[in-house]
């Protein structure tokens, strides 16, 4: 194939169709879990999905590092894709905030015409939530350090600072788990508990996904598949991490602090 253009015309790949089927299986088996209390099928399709995604991204990584297919315009398009994805995630969280404001700005009669509802004892925002905020903002600093270390070609520092970021992410997840475990209200305690655990729970899942994203970026850097001009794995994981960070700031302001 002759070519004299910078675009990357991808070759045939089994992963799109296979992961579509894996996703369909995951959906059906999750419904099965909820109705029949049988988790086996869901675990199986989750595993199949993971294997699919692993191999798909491995192929993309090889296209970029071994084949050198990621020219400037291809990188630009991948970045556009990530921007659109993050934008859709922003909309996803906006819907939860919308639901929260809908319930809290004019509390209904059923919850005692007050917010927080009668019988609910919210968290003190100056304890673990404040620590969580500081941990996430700090991890934003350490991932910027990683990015700058990568651009200035310091391999060891890049990996160290990314490990720090992952540690902070895990610390955040641990603190959130501890907070959930010791919470005086649960997800089935009025609209307050429902919207609180829905929003913070989805945010927690995003923190865990972001941590995994950074781990894959470390793997790509450690195996020298990233370099000072081709390091989308780190850059996009940093974008995602900052997005998670910003969502938390809004969560802290609205759901933890203003709520009190």
């Amino acid at each position: 194939m002759k070519k004299n253009h910078p675009f990357h015309l991808v070759t045939n790949s089994p992963w799109p169709i296979l992961s579509s089927f894996a996703l369909m299986n995951l959906l059906i088996s999750t419904v099965n879990l909820m109705n029949k209390k049988d988790i086996l099928l869901m675990n199986l399709s989750l595993m199949i999905l993971m294997l699919n995604l692993y191999q798909w991204w491995r192929d993309v990584k090889r296209e970029s590092s071994i084949k050198g297919d990621h020219t400037i315009i291809v990188k630009k398009m991948i970045k556009m894709g990530m921007i659109l994805f993050i934008l859709s995630e922003v909309m996803f969280f906006i819907s939860f905030f919308w639901g929260f404001f809908h319930a809290s700005l004019a509390p209904s009669m059923e919850i005692g015409l007050k917010w927080p509802p009668k019988g609910i004892n919210p968290f003190n925002p100056l304890e673990i939530p404040l620590l969580n905020t500081i941990v996430l903002v700090s991890s934003g600093a350490s991932i910027t350090w990683a990015h700058q270390a990568l651009i200035s070609k310091k391999l060891k520092q890049t990996i160290e600072s990314m490990l720090i970021t992952i540690m902070l992410g895990l610390y955040f997840s641990f603190l959130q788990w501890w907070e959930y475990k010791n919470s005086s209200f649960t997800i089935s305690d009025s609209i307050f508990g429902s919207s609180f655990f829905l929003t913070t729970g989805f945010h927690g899942i995003h923190v865990i996904i972001g941590t995994m994203f950074i781990i894959t970026a470390i793997q790509s850097i450690y195996t020298l598949k990233s370099n000072s001009v081709n390091h989308l794995s780190l850059e996009l994981s940093a974008w995602y991490w900052h997005f998670v960070d910003v969502v938390w700031l809004f969560l802290y302001l609205v759901i933890y602090w203003w709520n009190k």
Binding site: M1, K2, K3, N4, H5, P6, S64, S65, I66, K67, G68, D69, H70, T71, I72, I73, L150, K153, K154, L155, K156, I159, Y222, L224, N227, S228, V229, N230
Partner: protein, 124 residues
Amino acid sequence: MASYIVRSAMNISRRGLFTSAVRSAIPEEFPETMSVLTGLEKKEIEANIAGKDDRFEVQTLKRGDNSREAPIAIRSVYKSRVIGCICTDESTAIQWMWLKRGAPQQCACGHYFQLTDAKSAAGQ
């Protein structure tokens, strides 16, 4: 058998957190960037360093004087290429056309274009 299993378990456990037979410690610096790049990406960056920003000629060209004898050269490795002519400075629409290999072709507004050979950047 049991001793073999114990021995290989011991060997694996000695390898440390990041298992790699080749590199044991993480080096301080990345390898030189140009030495790890390949393919189109490398060609593009080499052209950038040599001072040529538009290696693949996909950006807008400034249209110079042209005639049937001296048409504007458009390079391609294929038999044809889609081009768009912004006929006048005030045009709000782009005049798209297929440029075929062979004699010079004219846009509706009168400018001449001709498809010429380009060296393939990838493949044969």
